[in-house]
């Protein structure tokens, strides 16, 4: 690809994530039944609807403003910890200096890192605690490694999605140590964490949508 990633590309990434969450929300709620109250799919559905709306035609052209408004809008989902953390993640991205009109893979990694830093200010959960962090942290690490090794944006997003998926899968054998599920202890073993699973779906969505469009043109 010639130019960097733009706000419109970012809107397509969001649309890709929204499509996957929409297709899988019933599965997410079922996963949440194992250790939660079965509403995670609904919360995620409302989360991606708000994200999409924030990036819809007529939204601010400036990515920074758009991300900040998207984050605030997701906080307003009123869906407990998930929507608070995802909202914080998006508004945190807006704080990165590299958040701009045309971003390289390195810039993209930097804004995701800024989002993660904002999330870390709100939760002490680490990978291994059976939360969304099990998918988010490796995804962003993979994005950074790919960017630093000179990979394109679609390639870097692909690596992030693969890492997120592996991270989400790894939660299957973990015991929850955060949120409401921690009180269930051993009973949480055997099911992947719904928050990590939805985060991995988001990254797969970012990658799929972006890969199909720009991935091909980059070979031309």
């Amino acid at each position: 690809m010639t130019g960097g990633i733009t706000k419109d590309d970012f809107a397509r990434m969001i649309a890709g994530a929204a499509a996957l969450i929409r297709a899988q929300h019933v599965m997410l709620s079922q996963l949440d039944c194992a250790a939660g109250d079965g509403d995670h799919g609904t919360t995620m559905l409302r989360t991606v609807e708000r994200l999409e709306k924030s990036f819809a035609p007529g939204s601010p052209e400036d990515l920074k403003t758009c991300l900040r408004e998207a984050g605030w809008s997701v906080l307003g989902v009123d869906g407990g910890a998930s929507s608070s953390l995802i909202g914080t993640f998006f508004s945190g991205m807006a704080d990165a200096p590299s958040c701009g009109a045309s971003m390289s893979a390195g810039d993209l990694a930097a804004i995701f890192e800024a989002g993660l830093a904002a999330v870390r200010k709100q939760t002490k959960a680490q990978p291994g605690d059976k939360t969304m962090m099990d998918a988010l942290v490796p995804a962003i690490q993979a994005l950074r490694i790919a960017a630093d090794s000179g990979k394109s944006v679609p390639e870097a997003l692909h690596d992030a999605a693969v890492a997120a998926r592996a991270g989400a899968e790894s939660t299957r054998n973990l015991i929850a140590r955060y949120g409401r599920a921690k009180f269930l202890g051993e009973k949480t073993r055997g099911h992947p964490d719904p928050g990590a699973t939805s985060m991995s779906l988001m990254f797969e969505g970012f990658s799929s949508e972006f890969g199909e469009s720009k991935g091909e043109s980059s070979n031309a």
């Binding site: 109250d37 079965g38 906080l75 407990g80 608070s84 709100q122 949120g179 409401r180």
Partner: protein
């Protein structure tokens, strides 16, 4: 088992229940802004505002305690899920009457997260807000951070709300809330699960002949699963654990609250309460105030929460102060 509830569309549960709640108590409460439950007549200028947040599905908690002498505004979230920071911030702005705002938060992961984000934003806007966390569930272990906030919100709303109504400063209201918080302990027991009203999902599994001591508000597992016991045995086990944790000595003054979880009847609560009273009398501990009923519920969950609190003269005075909150009327 199929869920049998009188609801309409699942996504309308929260707005419809809030609407019905304020319509049924028009002289005390109304909806303001984005579905915030506020007093029908706002507090006078120059007094501290008192705000809380929490998921829905636990009625009359928490909005049932908005009223003169208690809360100014309650921010209700979705079913069993905390409201986000934007509406909390809106509530805090509305509850600023010129003397600052006390933000009372029950210790649950989602609520604390929203509250922390709200506090950051409020500070950025230069607002005068102080937050206090209630965490009195002894099933969480010795570390206060691991103790959930259960029915202990009730005495905290009551005493802090009274202090605010009487013109106490923000620091005074905070001190009273925290003094109440330090001196209270709760333990819950469940005998039957609830279903999530939007999803129809049972929130935990419990055998027909079992009970679980330490069960949280949302069916979070406790530590003591055992065969179902009698009222006297259950009250005895739980009260002993609470008295030990709070280190109550003969001659001290206690408040006792017995809160039904939703499907446990008043009949059972009175039988339990009678036993609590007998045990306290035998130990020479004075039961100075009490409240029995449903203050925070979880749908058709059966079980109860038992709270004990050590009271001093200030706390008793604030507990006795007038309130017109729909579910805590005191004259």
């Amino acid at each position: 088992m199929r869920m049998k509830k009188f609801i309409n569309r699942p996504e309308d549960i929260v707005p419809e229940l809030l609407e019905g709640f304020v319509l049924s108590h028009p002289n005390q409460v109304r909806l303001v802004g984005s579905h915030l439950v506020a007093r029908a007549v706002p507090k006078a200028k120059g007094k501290v505002g008192v705000v809380t947040l929490g998921g829905s599905g636990h009625e009359p908690g928490l909005s049932g305690f908005v009223g003169e002498g208690m809360l100014d505004i309650s921010v209700a979230g979705e079913i069993f899920a905390a409201p986000g920071a934007p509406r909390c911030l809106e509530a805090i702005r509305l509850a600023e009457y010129g003397a600052g705002v006390l933000f009372i938060v029950l210790n649950h992961a989602g609520d604390v997260l929203s509250a922390n984000i709200t506090m950051e934003m409020a500070k950025r806007e230069g607002m005068n807000v102080k937050m206090t966390l209630t965490h009195e569930d002894i099933a969480g272990g010795p570390n206060p951070e691991d103790r959930r906030g259960l029915v202990g919100f009730l005495p905290v709303y009551k005493v802090a709300g009274a202090a605010a109504e009487q013109g106490g400063s923000l620091d005074t209201c905070l001190e009273i809330a925290e003094r109440m918080g330090r001196n209270m302990r709760t333990l819950a027991v469940a005998v039957q699960t609830a279903t999530h009203p939007s999803t129809g999902q049972a929130i935990f599994e419990l055998g027909d002949d079992e009970m679980e001591i330490g069960m949280g508000q949302h069916g979070e597992a406790g530590t003591g699963r055992m065969k179902l016991k009698t009222a006297d045995e259950t009250a005895g086990i739980m009260l002993e654990m609470l008295l030990k944790d709070l280190d109550v000595k003969a001659g001290e003054d206690l408040l006792v609250i017995l809160n039904g979880a939703g499907a446990t009847t008043l009949m059972e609560l009175f039988i339990l309460f009678r036993r609590v009273d007998q045990i306290l009398k035998a130990k020479g501990i004075k039961l100075v105030r009490s409240k029995v009923g449903e203050f925070i519920t979880t749908q058709e969950q059966a079980g109860f929460q038992l709270l004990i609190a050590r009271m001093d003269a200030d706390l008793i005075r604030y507990w006795d102060a007038p309130s017109n909150a729909p579910y805590f009327v005191t004259r």
